[in-house]
Symmetry: C2
Subunit: 131 residues, 2 copies
Amino acid sequence: MNIGSASAASGVSAKMIRHYETIGLLRPAARRDNAYRDYGASEVHELQFIGRARRLGFSIVEIGQLLTLWRDRQRPSREVREIASQHLADLDARIAEMQAMASTLRKLVSCCHGDERPDCPILEDLGGGLH
Amino acid sequence: MNIGSASAASGVSAKMIRHYETIGLLRPAARRDNAYRDYGASEVHELQFIGRARRLGFSIVEIGQLLTLWRDRQRPSREVREIASQHLADLDARIAEMQAMASTLRKLVSCCHGDERPDCPILEDLGGGLH
DNA sequence: CTACACCTTCCCATCATGGGAAGGTCAATG
DNA sequence: CATTGACCTTCCCATGATGGGAAGGTGTAG
């Protein structure tokens, strides 16, 4: 299977598949006589794994660790859970940070009448009150 | 005032102040005989404006627009509000996306017993059910 | 045979930020 | 006065994940 078909089957772009191979996340793909990469069902399955993990926001490094654990039938689920818990904590922290921004912004936006007049609480806030 | 003092007074790193000047967000700073950049109260005030806007998550491009409006005493508040509303919508969208990730992850993590046993619903989910 | 779709590698761009090198300047202290 | 340490300057490189696009080779259908 060509890289294009593997991409379509996994939802990971061909660009990214090559990139993942370059940085060592994926083992080098088999090549045909014409130097085209050749993928089978198990490679596509790995790509799908990567795609799902990316959609959950895992970093490439984390996905590398998860892939290693996935391949190891003897892994302790504890290790998987630790990676996922840490990522979840990171996500929650980033969400909280962005919610704080959004909350402040929402107040400012709701206070600004947003017409042709120049007075604007948004700029006043950014300017530190005095200008 | 040296760049270090301007940095301390504004909360924007010296590295970033130089960078903002390079990309045209800030007008080139005055120079002393020794080629050191020299900042006054109004430059520091602009830097504080930038710092506050960054802390609210505005992009450099958006801050450039906000700075222009800030300097213009005749600006219509509508334009400011539009930029802020758009940024708020972006933030809300990103928050929602991350919350969806976090929600899925939280379920998976809570289902995984996380001990020495190898069976793990997190990997099962990433693997698409079958492996 | 020609067109078109696909593949290859290689380089560059994003966005905001920082690290660090190599070298010049300033102020305080011995 | 000389040294030291804290500044400053410019320049280059790195991050993380992704994509654009060029230049060139390959495969297939009309």
